[in-house]
Each structure stands twice: as C-alpha cells, then as structure tokens.
C-alpha cells in the first residue's frame, strides 16, 4: 500500500489537481496558462533530475542553488565571445563545482550533506565575487532567445528523456543504481564506484548550471544574489514527492518530473484561488514531510 502510494501517488495527485482546476478554476486548462506553468517549472525539473541521480547513489547535493547562481554570474562575462562559448563556460563552472563535490564524497569520504554544504556557502559567494555583486541586464539576443518558453520547455523535456535513457540504457546508469542500492556489493562486483560517484555529482552540477543559464535568459538579467535560492529544497521535494527514496538505489525520472509538476500546479492553484504565497510555502512544507514519511514507511 505504502509502496503504491509512494510510486504512483504523485500521478494521482497531479491528475486530481488538474481535475479540480478544470472544474473550479477559470481558464486554467488553457494553453497560455499551462505553458506558463511549464516554463516556471522547467529549471526545477532540470535541477531535480540531477538531484535524483545524486540521491540514487544515496547522496544529496545541497549546492545546486549556488551552482545556478555561479552559472548566472559566469554567462555575461563571456558573452563577448558569443553565446555558445558563454554557455559552455557556465556549464564548465557547474561541472567544476560538481567535480569538487564528487571528489570530496568519493575520494575524501565525506558525507554528501557535509561536502556539499561547504559549496552551498562558498558557491554563491564565488558567484557574487565573479559578478562583482551586481545584477547585469542581458542584451544579447541569442541568449535571450534561449529564454523563450518553447526553448525552455523543450530543453527540459529533452534533458528528461536523455537522463531517462542514460539511467536505464547505459552501463553508467545501471551501475549508478547498483552503487546506490548496495555499495559493498557493487564494490565486490568490480564496479568503479568512485568514478561513478564523481560522474554523478558532475552531472548534477552540469544540470544545475544549465538551469541557471536558462533562468538567466528567461529573467533577461544575471542576478546571482537571488537566483536559485532554496532551489535545493524545491529539487529535493520534486525528487522525494516523485517517489525516489532518499536511501538510494532507485531513481524515478518520470516521477521526478511529475513531482516538480505537482508542486508547480499546487502553487498555481493556491494563487489562482487567492491564497497567498505564504500559504503555498506552508503547504509545500507539509507535503515534503508527508512524502518523506511515506517513503520511510516503505524502507523500514
């Protein structure tokens, strides 16, 4: 029962919410509104997918929000060389943070929460130093084009498919789940455990950086002081609500996307019904706890 709830609860909740809105909320199921919702949730989806991979290895990455900020700060510096070099540099910055996280976890042997906490603090500081603490307007048309709804949504969708394929169809993906499921066994079976862990944290950093770039383009400004704040919480929520257990060994890609969608729809529903943002936050807090509780019931 708890297992079914953990696994499929999120889809039922999304369906129920859509049904509720179809009946009680005016103009909710219109294309324009749905597109807005999807655009808003796209960065969360990207970050949450990376987070899901990390959680699949029995880890956690608290630094994702700071990585977004760093990516946002790096992009304008290199726009002079064109949009693609700038994006590449931002992604490289994210990958670097991921590499540091991964090395601290896999080589030094730190607990993931401890290792990534340091970069949660330092990452945003670095971003602010890089950006000189200022908000920068983005005028580069090519970069702004990346912020168009269609591009943002498509990117998130494509990445979700890529992550799903990577997870289910590549050697790396299957090894990742094995490492998260039973590290001792994976080790005895000769799997390159350290390399797998590092690659996973790097992937998470890359995805967070990509989210930072898209969010910046969407915002038409690079704002490293506020972009991505509390993103780690939103991402973990999406992952956990989507049915991926925090104990590792399982990753639900579709569930994660649905988890992000659920939280987005919930917020939108509350707002459409004139409930303030504060209520939405408290409801979100409650949902996280319920989701974790259900997941716990299964793993014990």
């Amino acid at each position: 029962m708890a297992e079914k709830l953990q696994r499929y609860g999120v889809y039922a909740a999304v369906a129920a919410l859509l049904l509720f809105n179809a009946i009680f909320t005016d103009n909710f199921l219109q294309v324009a509104n749905l597109r807005t919702q999807l655009v808003q949730m796209a960065p969360v989806v990207l970050v949450a997918l990376g987070m899901a991979l990390v959680i699949g290895t029995e880890g956690i990455d608290l630094s994702v929000g700071s990585v977004m900020a760093l990516a946002a700060a790096v992009v304008p510096l290199y726009l002079g060389f064109g949009v693609w070099p700038a994006v590449a540099m931002a992604l490289a910055a994210g990958a670097t943070i991921g590499l540091v996280n991964g090395s601290m976890v896999a080589l030094v042997g730190l607990q993931p929460i401890v290792a990534t906490l340091a970069l949660l603090v330092a990452g945003r500081g670095i971003a602010l130093v890089v950006a000189d603490g200022r908000l920068k307007q983005i005028k580069n048309q090519e970069l702004l084009a990346l912020g168009q709804p269609a591009v943002v949504i498509a990117t998130a969708a494509v990445i979700a498919v890529v992550v799903a394929v990577m997870l289910h169809r590549t050697t790396y993906g299957r090894q990742l789940v094995a490492v998260g499921g039973n590290r001792a066994a994976a080790n005895l079976a000769g799997l390159p455990v350290r390399r797998i862990l590092i690659v996973t944290y790097v992937s998470c950093g890359l995805l967070a950086a990509l989210a930072g770039v898209l969010a910046t383009a969407r915002l038409t400004a690079s704002d490293p002081s506020s972009i991505g704040t509390l993103m780690e919480l939103s991402a973990i929520t999406a992952v956990v609500v989507g049915g991926t257990p925090l104990t590792g060994g399982q990753v639900r890609v579709l569930g994660t996307v649905a988890g992000a969608l659920l939280m987005q729809l919930l917020r939108a529903t509350l707002i459409k019904h004139n409930l303030p943002d504060s209520t939405a936050q408290m409801v979100q807090a409650a949902i996280i706890l319920v989701a974790v509780y259900i997941a716990r019931g299964r793993t014990r």
Binding site: T171, V177, A178, G181, A185, L188, G190
Partner: protein, 501 residues
C-alpha cells in the same frame, strides 16, 4: 552456589520468516558459573543472546531470571534487571573520555553539576582494579581494544550486573590482554556474577568455563560440564552430524584428478595484522580446495584478501601463472577470479534491482555498444543462466529481494559464471538456503570443477567441506595449520587437526 539457578531458559523457540532460529532451547546458569556457549555461524547463538537481552522476544518457552519468570520487551528492561552484554565491538562512545563512558547516566554530582574531579578519581581507581592504568580524561578510542573491553566490563559490573554475556570478547585482543581479561572474569565469578561466555576459541573455553552448551541449527545438541567432554567430541558436536553418518550431499564421492599444468590460483604469504598470518596455498584447474576452520579462523578474510576486497599488509596472488600487479576487486575480476561473498544480503545482492540486472552487474562493461546497454545480449545471457541454474523467478524483471534465499544465491552464482571465470571462490555457498537448492548448488560446484575451473570452497558444514573438496587447507587463528588430500580427507581427520593442530 544457590540451588535455584540465576538464569533458567526452558523450551525457547524463535521463528523468523522462513527460518526456525531457535528450537526448544533450554539452559541453566547458576550464580557464579562461567558457562560457555558455542556453535558455528547460524547455530542460533546470537539469536539466543538477543532473546535473553530483550532485543527479540521468544515465540515460545519460558525464561526465569533471579527466581522470577521474565519477559523482556526492550534491552533497557534486561539491563535494569542486571543483565549486561559485552560485545565483540565495544559498545561505548569512542569520542567521549574514559571516565565519562564509565559513568554515563550515573555521574556523581555536586550542586546539580557533574563532579568531574570525583568522577575522574573514581574512574581511575575502578579501572586500576581491572589492571587498566590510563589517563581517564583521554577519549576512549585512544585506548587499546583490550583496555576498552575492560572499561565496558567495569561499567557492566558497576551497574550491578548479575549476569554478564560476553560475545567473542577476546577476538581482537593481544595475548597479554586476554590474560588480564581471564583474571577479571574469574574474579567476577567468585563474586557470584554469572557469565555466559560465547567464543569459538576452544582452548580459552577449557581454561575458563565450567559448563558448555553447544548449539547447532538452532537446537541444543549438548550441555554439560566442560571437563567431561574432550575437544574432538566438542568439535564434532559443533560441526557435524554424528560421526560416521552417511552423507546426504550431492557431491560425487570420487575425488577429481586435478588437471596438469601450473596452479590456476596461487596465494602466497598473505598477511594482515591480527587477521591473517602468512597464508599460502594453491589450487589447480579442475580442483576443489576446501578452506576449513572454525568460525573466526580467517577463512572468509583469506578469500576476501585474494580478490582484493580486504587490503593486506603483504602477500601476492597468481592466477594462471601470472602475478597480479595489484590486489583490487577490479584486477581480480579481470584476471578471471570471482567470489561469492558470505553475507548474501549485505555484500551480494542488490535487493531493489531485478534478477536480470543482478545477473549482468559484473559483466555489464563487456555487454554494451558505445556505452548503451545491449538489451539483446543481456537477455541471452540471463536466459541461459536462468535456465541452467534453474532460477525460479516470475520473470527476469522480478526484484531480487523478493526471491527465496536459494534463488538469490543462484542469481549471484550466475553473476559470476557469466564472466567465464577461471577461479571461483565460494564462501558458504549453501548457507541459509533450502535443501533442494542446496543440492543443486553442490551439484553445480561439481560440474564446474569437472569443466576445469579452480574452486575454493569455504563451508562451516563439515560434511559439505569433506565431500565437496579434493583437498582441504585448514586454518586456525588466521594461519594454515595443515592440509589434507585424497583419502586423508574425512571428518575425523579434519576435526582432529582442528582440535590439536
């Protein structure tokens, strides 16, 4: 000694899903007696301890303690009643000071605050009586294991324990520390504290204990004064069915002839502080070599060291005449070795993954095209091995965690066999699986050896060892004490060597 025993266990049964861990176990322990509890892995020793200390509750039977029937629901209740347990891994707080550990929860206080000078002074005095002279303000972990053990003992005695359960207390102690411990145990016994002493070191038992209870497969197979039973008989009670009984294993009784050529596996001078001492042996193609010994003799550690899962201080491994440049699990697998670990759940299966994925786990790197998993080639392999090993699962997609122990074991075997290994190390391959699966696994071992594999077989089932192996290398306290080959391999010889070697 009192006429009413301090502890009296009557007809205790304990069931776990699929296993009867304790059957009709009875035990009497008078005040001041040092009582040995022995048995191989899975005999039910730890379950019995857990029942006595309130971790588990007995399904049937009665326990009387201090003249009254008791039914502990929680460890705390047992502790308050005066039953203390000292585990092999010391259960204290390593980072806290020695004195704080000794007094945790009953610190002397003055004006509501812990009286540190008094606590430290009393701690020093107390420990001095146990022969431990250390700065009690230092963290516990700065002490040697023997001294830590003494602190645990002192704590147990200080909280008015009447019954001490000691679980393998000497397994990580230096000889000198063992002597100190024995002195303390004898002294406690004179103070009418009863001790249930669990150990696999028989020599120690004979020096220390008054009575012995032998458990096997969850049943008491012998209980009585230790002086009345010789070591050989004791070992036969622990390991075997009655001597001379006919075998029921699936092994063919004729010994295989090893194939000519250089040894397929050669381990040389494997050394690991406190665990392994200069272990060397070799296995030829087509040969099954049994690693024998009692629990704690270093059997599993030897296997792990060979496949690089346990770092060693010294030693080298040769496979097919070539020396491994370094010992790591990846290098071992590459060289053609495969090991089935003893603890199937903790080190073997990945319970959440499917049968298919568990089977192809180790072979995955060789089953891809450009990084993409080749489903077709996987399916072929999975299909072949599920049929060949007769793995009973609803489909290859079923979660391994849902299978029976025997089928889980076969999945693990399949994981290694699909790599086409040259050397197979099997650590307790038939433990905890049902009779049918056991026979199948044994037959498979036979078949694999005939096909030319070099097999190392570890088993605490003496019969399995004797009938399955062509040669037996016997270990004791981490060192090789003897070897039996050909017609020498029988239960008498093995036990004799273990008792006197």
């Amino acid at each position: 000694m009192d006429s009413v025993p301090l502890l009296s266990v009557r007809g205790v049964c304990k069931r776990f899903p699929g296993v009867l861990a304790l059957q009709d176990v009875s035990l009497d322990l008078p005040a001041g007696q040092v009582h040995a509890l022995v048995g191989e892995n899975g005999a039910g020793k730890s379950t019995l301890i857990k029942v006595l200390t309130g971790v588990h509750r007995a399904d049937e039977g009665e326990i009387a303690y201090d003249g009254r029937p008791v039914d502990f629901h929680q460890p705390k209740q047992a502790q308050q009643a005066g039953i203390s347990t000292i585990y092999q891994e010391v259960n204290l707080i390593p980072l806290m000071s020695v004195a704080r550990n000794l007094f945790l929860g009953r610190e002397p206080r003055r004006f509501g605050l812990i009286d540190l000078p008094r606590m430290n002074r009393e701690a020093s005095e107390t420990l001095a009586r146990y022969g431990v002279h250390v700065d009690v303000r230092k963290p516990l972990r700065s002490l040697g294991l023997g001294a830590q053990q003494m602190v645990a003992l002192a704590r147990a005695v200080a909280i008015d324990a009447k019954l001490l359960i000691m679980d393998e207390p000497t397994s990580s102690l230096e000889p000198r520390e063992v002597e100190t411990l024995f002195g303390v145990v004898r002294e406690l016994s004179q103070r009418h504290i009863s001790i249930l002493y669990v150990s696999h070191r028989l020599d120690e038992l004979y020096r220390l204990c008054d009575e012995v209870t032998v458990l096997r497969d969850g049943r008491v197979v012998h209980t009585g004064p230790l002086a009345a039973i010789d070591k050989l008989t004791l070992i036969s009670k622990m390991l075997g069915r009655d001597l001379g009984g006919d075998g029921v294993t699936k092994f063919t009784h004729d010994r295989r002839a090893a194939l000519p050529g250089p040894p397929q596996l050669r381990a040389e001078g494997m050394d690991k502080r406190n665990l392994l001492h200069d272990i060397s042996f070799e296995v030829r193609r087509g040969e099954v070599v049994g690693l024998g010994g009692l629990l704690g003799s270093g059997r599993s550690e030897t296997a792990k060291a060979i496949v690089g899962a346990l770092p060693v201080d010294r030693g080298s491994v040769w496979v097919g005449g070539r020396r491994l440049a370094r010992l790591s699990t990846a290098a071992a697998i590459k060289a053609g070795m495969a090991m089935l670990p003893e603890d199937r759940k903790a080190e073997g299966i990945i319970a959440d993954l499917s049968v298919r994925e568990n089977i192809v786990l180790a072979a995955m790197p060789s089953l891809h095209r450009a990084g993409l998993v080749s489903r077709r080639r996987q399916d072929q392999i999975v299909d072949v091995f599920m049929k060949r090993l007769r793995i009973k699962a609803s489909s290859p997609q079923q979660r391994v965690g849902e299978l029976s122990g025997g089928n889980q074991q076969k999945v693990l075997l399949a994981r290694w066999l699909c790599l086409n290994p040259r050397v197979l190390l099997l650590d307790e391959p038939t433990r905890g699986i049902d009779v049918g699966a056991k026979a199948e696994v044994q037959a498979l071992i036979d078949e694999l050896a005939r096909a030319g594999l070099a097999v190392v077989l570890i088993s605490s089932d003496l019969e399995e060892l004797v009938e399955g192996a062509d040669r037996v290398v016997l270990l004791k306290a981490g060192a090789v004490v003897g070897e039996l080959a050909g017609d020498q391999v029988d239960e008498h010889a093995v036990m004799g060597m273990l008792a006197h070697g």
